[in-house]
């Protein structure tokens, strides 16, 4: 991907925001992003809006908060990968020369959805009978069988993400003291071997990114590093034996392998060049699997790498630097954009106490409904 930069980012902290509407959270995040970019909404030529749970046309309605300027507004939905997929469409629009400045907006109120689900009648599909965490737990049980993984490995990942979240003011989970792996293991069991602290919370939030031509970033913010988007992919699954057609599907391994290969090839680099990585860590087992599937370590070596602290802040390649889905949160639509927000700040050197020294290359990986994979690579120019 050529000549696409992140001009600005803004984020409304994830959390339980029952008194705030999606449109309000989107406006606050959007105005922060415009100020960050040094732009006015008058400069925005198009918008891509992503959410999962709000009613039809909620995107266009939220955009009216910024003013009515007649720009094209397009809705994008791809389950957890919604924000990432909207970001990809905006980047492609800039890369293809259709627009110079495009706004990407992601918002959701998962807390509202949980209340609606509780009020609805009994489920009519098998997907609705079984707790979603169970499907990820089975990934963990299988891994434990094949590789000798222990719950302590999963707890160490979760503790890392909780503690990273504690360094991020926009994180939903804000631990008051350092979280130990023992504390994660001792939290309530959800679905063996996953505990509540190994699982992402329910929450609300909004994130906005503004993408555009790199020279705009250089002109408006001289002296600030320019963050470019050099690779983007969106893939759905190829059929393999053992594919699960019913029930929430945990990301089939091959899709993440294929997606990461595609962005490494497009970006002209490899996993060894990455300084930081964000993944779809809705459950700790996912992050463990993605270490290998993204090539951050070799197959079968994730457990050893965890024990060495390879993926912690200051480690070989830091993963889920902002707390990940487990701590920073996972409202739905804005989640993928939160990864872009974090990576942009890190590559500019503006990530505060969680800053990766000299960060130059970051990868953002999201799964959607276990059935799509969206990956981007961002670099400091």
């Amino acid at each position: 991907m050529k000549d696409v930069a992140v001009l600005g980012v803004g984020m409304h902290q994830f959390g339980m925001w029952s008194a705030k509407s999606n449109a309000t959270m989107a406006r606050e995040a959007g105005m922060e992003a415009l100020r960050d970019a040094g732009l006015s909404f008058r400069d925005v030529q198009a918008a891509y809006v992503g959410y999962i749970f709000a009613p039809v046309m909620a995107g266009v309605r939220a955009m009216k908060e910024f003013g009515l300027t007649g720009i094209p507004v397009q809705h994008v939905e791809n389950a957890s990968a919604t924000g990432s997929a909207a970001f990809r469409e905006a980047c492609l629009a800039v890369a293809e020369g259709r627009h110079d400045v495009v706004m990407v907006v992601g918002f959701d109120k998962m807390t509202t959805l949980m209340r609606q689900a509780a009020a609805a009648g009994p489920p009519e599909e098998m997907d609705g009978v079984i707790l979603p965490a169970a499907f990820f737990a089975m990934w963990a049980t299988r891994r434990m069988h094949e590789r000798g993984t222990t719950p302590a490995h999963l707890a160490r990942i979760a503790a890392k993400n909780w503690n990273n979240g504690g360094l991020n003011p926009k994180s939903q989970r804000q631990p008051s003291e350092t979280v130990s792996a023992d504390k994660v293991l001792a939290s309530r069991m959800v679905a063996w071997p996953l505990t509540t602290m190994m699982s992402c919370p329910t929450g609300d939030g909004a994130v906005v990114a503004i993408v555009g031509r790199p020279e705009i970033a250089r002109r408006l913010n001289p002296g600030r590093p320019v963050v470019k988007v050099i690779a983007s992919t969106l893939q759905s699954e190829k059929y393999t034996r053992g594919h699960l057609f019913e029930g929430p599907v945990v990301g089939p391994a091959q899709m993440t392998i294929d997606s990461s290969r595609a962005v490494y090839e497009e970006g002209g680099l490899g996993p060894e060049d990455l300084d930081l990585v964000q993944v779809h860590d809705a459950f700790a087992i996912e992050e463990l699997e993605y270490y290998e599937l993204l090539g951050l370590c070799r197959e079968g070596e994730a457990e050893g790498a965890i024990e060495r602290g390879d993926f912690e802040l200051g480690g070989r390649v830091a993963v889920s630097t902002d707390g990940g889905l487990i701590a920073r949160g996972h409202p739905g639509g804005p989640t993928g954009l939160a990864q872009i927000w974090e990576t942009t700040l890190q590559l500019r050197g503006e990530a505060g106490r969680r800053q990766i020294e000299g960060a130059r290359v970051g990868l953002c990986h999201m799964m959607g409904g276990g059935s799509v994979c969206c990956v981007h690579i961002l670099v400091r120019d």
Binding site: P123, G128, V129, I130, A137, A191, Y239, G242, F245, G247
Partner: protein, 146 residues
């Protein structure tokens, strides 16, 4: 006629599994076989996901399989009114015909292990007005020698 024969069973997901008249007969899953490449699927589908052929036929699958993976959930089963469903097993089962399926498991965590033979059975989720029982399929570990 036994009491069991008078039960009125209704599948939670019609078209997904059989409801045998004989209470001792395990249910079968309703799937699809591709006549072009031989791949089997659950649930039913019109077009083969592997070779894209439309020459697919409906078949019954199971009731036996082996446990590919499992978990035990420490929350109530959604849609169930039965106290024993406050904690429940879930398994990924490789059916002998090939497809991998996900269903609740009967039994306790100690009984589950990867590679364990399992068999399908019907399980009542709740009783509705008029006495109809809403049933689902679950798999139970097969104890060797039984």
């Amino acid at each position: 006629m036994t009491e069991r024969h008078k039960r009125m069973l209704v599948a939670m997901t019609p078209g997904h599994f059989t409801l045998p008249e004989d209470p001792n007969e395990p249910p079968r899953l309703l799937g699809t076989k591709c006549e072009a490449c031989g791949e089997h699927y659950y649930p039913r589908r019109a077009i083969c996901a592997k070779c894209l052929s439309e020459k697919t036929v409906q078949v019954e699958l199971g009731p036996r399989g082996t446990l590919y993976s499992w978990t035990f959930v420490h929350f109530p089963m959604f849609g169930s009114t039965r106290a024993e469903h406050v904690g429940y097993g879930v398994g990924q089962v490789d059916l002998s015909e090939g497809p991998r399926v996900q269903f609740p498991l009967a039994g306790t965590q100690e009984e589950f292990r990867v590679g364990q033979p399992v068999q399908a059975e019907l399980e009542t989720l709740r009783e509705e007005d008029g006495g109809q029982e809403v049933v689902i399929v679950r798999f139970r570990p097969v104890v060797s020698g039984r």
